[in-house]
């Protein structure tokens, strides 16, 4: 097992080097010139050259790349062109905001999605089940930004239950963004839970449990739900990805200074050091998460351990 982990960690090095290389290339191949934008009506060659130099835009590729790699070894991801402060600091400010919003969205996703799916499954033949099932389709088809603006206008402006935007009111600030992000995806979750529950409910052990006279509710929760949830949980990994794409929009509408907004503004402003820092951190995060998931799987199921670790004797120790 230790050898497996070490092997995987060593494999990180070429991945991260590759990411750094490619994202350093961005500086030189993406068209557009941020300095002309900054100078606006008053572009004169001397000012242009001085501003470029002051921002560090005049470095040749190899120097830029090597400086970044050197920085990474000291835990330094560079210096933002636009904000003129360390990229580390900028990313550290943004991460907690996105994490909080993600957690809120995930909670809403679970709280709304799973019960809705199960209710839809056990009432499958009744009107209520159909209403639930079709409303989940409607909710999912609702464009996220319209949903976000509706919620902001109704729950924020008209009713004043939640802050309209910003992150000053603690977790309360994250309720509306969480709803906007989590609700459409909870519809997917509900449909998944419904399908899985329907399948489980036809299994022989459920039928036999019911025929043995166990209370219906207990059968559903104890025997049905437990087994129906496995495919739902497996899908959470995918939700995290779907959340990420919703971050830019939700963070902009609700004015939360998180990663989504940071990526968006860094691309718009051609703030490549920030962009490179984000890419680097995300790659690192993705690789480490995968490693963690593999390790958990190996713990849970020795059969998987044999496949991924390739040495089942180690898996025991």
């Amino acid at each position: 097992m230790v050898r497996f982990i070490v092997k995987r960690l060593l494999a990180l090095i070429p991945i991260l080097l590759g990411i750094s290389f490619v994202s350093s290339m961005l500086f030189y191949i993406v068209p557009g010139d941020i300095v002309t934008v900054m100078l606006g009506q008053h572009v004169d060659p001397l000012t242009y050259a001085n501003v470029r130099k002051a921002l560090g835009l005049d470095l040749p590729f190899w120097e830029n790349f090597i400086r970044f790699i050197q920085g990474v070894f000291c835990g330094d991801l560079g210096y933002s062109y636009i904000q003129q402060r360390p990229v580390n600091q900028i990313i550290l400010e943004a991460v907690p905001v996105s994490v909080k919003m993600g957690i809120m969205a995930l909670l809403i996703n679970i709280i709304v999605g799973i019960p809705a799916g199960i209710l839809a499954a056990i009432n499958d033949k009744r009107i209520s089940g159909r209403v639930l099932n079709s409303s989940s389709i409607i909710i999912f088809s609702f464009p996220a930004f319209i949903a976000a603006m509706f919620m902001q206008l109704i729950l924020g402006v008209k009713l004043g239950w939640f802050p309209v935007s910003g992150s000053e009111k603690g977790m309360l600030s994250y309720v509306l963004p969480g709803l906007a992000l989590g609700l459409p995806l909870s519809a997917v979750n509900a449909r998944l839970a419904r399908a899985s529950m329907l399948e489980v409910m036809t299994q022989e052990y459920i039928i036999s449990a019911i025929s043995r006279g166990l209370p219906y509710r207990r059968v559903i929760i104890k025997h049905g739900l437990r087994n129906a949830l496995i495919p739902v949980l497996t899908n959470f990994g995918m939700f995290v990805g779907a959340f990420m794409s919703g971050f830019v929009l939700t963070e902009t509408v609700f004015n939360l200074p998180g990663m989504g907004r940071l990526v968006f503004s860094a691309i718009n402003a051609r703030d490549f050091p920030v962009l490179r820092g984000i890419l680097f951190i995300s790659a690192l995060f993705a690789v480490l998460t995968n490693l963690l998931v593999d390790l958990i799987y190996a713990r849970l199921d020795p059969r998987i351990a044999t496949v991924i670790v390739g040495e089942n004797t180690d898996a025991a120790g």
Binding site: V37, Q84, S165, P257, N268
Partner: protein
């Protein structure tokens, strides 16, 4: 099952809830308008004001962007200020000044004025602050303010250690000598970038002075407010400077709330969390005027928006008739109605109304499709036959997209085949700057009280070359105007130059935009000006 009935009811209730509230949008929540009629301004209160993003920094050297200026103008002061009521320049730190030939400027400072840290401001502080803008290591984006000062080029290219044209005469007297005469220079010194900074603080802070989120002990100016806190992507708080040398601010402070989305800003205003808005989302301007009657302020900006034509390349090269035909084909009122929701003034020529040089009697262009067709035929393309498709380039933004589509439709009606080419801003700006585009949307703002600041960079032959326009007579008139001291004479020269330019039509003149501001009912003393800068020190909160 009973539970299921409840569930159905709940789902229905949800739908009803949404339906009910969504129909009520935009009709309620109007705060009453109190008129300031005869009321005395009073002190106190915090103004909550949105910003679309953080300024790059609160270092005046970086004040070449709207955001930096919006906050920075309150924290810093320079030698002079602009008074738009009379279109004159008024004292700030300089209580008076002498001008010789629009070239040598001597400023006499007010004694006893202080930085926010208590130090006295002297002529040496101004010398340092100006020299710093030209220092290549500063990389100042506002270096253009001083680029005409004697020795500026040598200083900017690192050949000298100070600027020849900036001299301290005594503790309170500063002299600036220019390379070439410029009637714009004094106006430019009113730019927030030409502010005085404290050398010791700046040098001690080093790189941190330029950073987003700089600390209050680093951001030290002399203006009516001082920085109290800056949390990036959240809020910038400024408070009244009790030691200010001029009229002190009425407000206790201003909270600049950073909100990147204009619709969110409007919703925060509706919820009563903002007091003043200067960006109303496109498409909602007329709605806002109905929703908040009496709270909308309209302000015509000294800006000209146009479609530039590259006169060095076919089909526009040596074909004045073709360029004039384009000008006659455009229905400016229609564009203002559709694209700006009525908030604009049709442009007859280059200079916006309100500038001293604006010419009521300018021969401009009106919407006349028949004339456009006739001119098109005279230009050698009857009915547009033989004319290669025109490619209209613009930077992609909601308003520009609408504008380009409207222009395209109007041109095609007369017979100009037109294609659109939308580009991201950083790419677009570079292409325009390189003079590489054939037909391009551009807007140009006045940054001084002198019309030369629009005419010279756009149409002088040493200019930016967007159009590749050259006319020796225009050059002669503009150069002469620069050295004439008497304003009446200068106005005449500028008007002559403008008439020649408009006749030769290196652009399709479109409009001068009108900006809308929205204020809460209890906000008084809002002074707008044609450079779109709202001074916050004159604002006060009633009742």
């Amino acid at each position: 099952m009973r539970r299921n009935k409840k569930l159905i009811l709940f789902v229905f209730a949800c739908f009803l809830f949404f339906a009910f509230f969504s129909t009520g949008c935009g009709s309620s929540n109007v705060t009453g308008v109190t008129t300031a009629g005869g009321q005395q301004p009073k002190n106190g209160g915090i103004l909550r004001y949105p910003l679309l993003d953080d300024p790059i920094s609160l270092d005046p050297a970086n004040f070449n962007e709207e955001l930096g200026i919006e906050v920075g103008k309150e924290i810093y002061d320079g030698l002079v200020e602009l008074d738009f009521d009379k279109n004159v320049i008024v004292p700030a730190h300089a209580e008076k000044w002498d001008i010789k030939d629009n070239r040598v400027f001597t400023f006499y400072l007010r004694p006893g004025t202080k930085f926010h840290n208590g130090k006295e401001v002297t002529a040496e502080d101004f010398r340092y602050s100006f020299d710093r803008l030209l220092d290549p290591d500063t990389g100042a984006t506002v270096a253009w303010i001083l680029e005409n000062v004697k020795g500026a080029a040598a200083r900017m290219s690192g050949k000298t250690e100070d600027t020849e044209g900036i001299k301290v005469i005594d503790k309170y007297t500063l002299q600036i000598t220019l390379e070439n005469p410029s009637p714009s220079f004094l106006s430019w010194l009113a730019h927030p970038g030409a502010a005085v900074v404290d050398r010791e603080t700046v040098e001690k802070a080093g790189k941190d002075f330029k950073a987003t989120g700089a600390r209050p002990d680093i951001v030290v100016g002399t203006g009516p407010f001082k920085l109290s806190r800056w949390i990036p992507k959240n809020v910038i708080k400024i408070v009244r400077n009790e030691e200010y040398y001029g009229r002190k601010a009425y407000l206790d402070g201003v909270d600049f709330k950073i909100i990147p989305d204009t619709t969110t800003i409007l919703n925060e205003f509706r919820a009563g969390n903002l007091d003043f808005i200067d960006h109303i989302p496109p498409g909602q301007k007329s709605l806002v005027e109905k929703e908040f009657p009496g709270q909308v302020i309209r302000n015509t900006i000294w800006n000209i928006e146009f479609i530039g034509l590259n006169v060095s390349k076919p089909p526009f090269k040596d074909n004045v008739k073709l360029r004039q035909a384009l000008n006659y084909a455009i229905d400016r009122d229609g564009i203002i109605r559709v694209v700006l929701e009525g908030n604009g003034v049709p442009a007859k020529g280059v200079l916006p109304p309100g500038m001293a040089e604006y010419n009521e009697n300018l021969r401009g262009y009106t919407y006349d499709p028949a004339k456009a067709s006739a001119f098109l035929a005279e230009a050698g393309y009857p009915g547009g036959r033989g004319l290669p498709p025109l490619e209209l380039a613009y930077n992609v933004r909601e308003q520009n997209q609408k504008l380009a589509e409207a222009v395209q439709a109007q041109l095609q009606e007369v017979g100009f085949p037109t294609k659109l080419k939308g580009m991201p801003l950083p790419v677009y700006q570079r292409e325009v700057g390189a003079g590489a585009l054939s037909m391009f949307r551009l807007a140009w703002s006045a940054d001084s009280l002198d019309a030369g600041c629009i005419l010279k960079p756009l149409f002088g032959s040493k200019a930016e070359n967007f159009f590749h326009y050259k006319n020796p007579e225009v050059d002669r008139l503009l150069d002469k105007a620069q050295s004439v001291a008497e304003q009446g004479e200068r106005i005449k020269l500028y008007r002559q130059a403008e008439q020649i330019i408009v006749d030769e039509a290196p652009a399709i003149w479109l409009f001068h935009p009108v900006n809308l501001y929205l204020k809460a009912g209890n906000i008084q003393g809002v002074q707008t000006n044609p450079m779109d800068i709202v001074p916050l020190s004159s604002i006060w909160i009633s009742g």
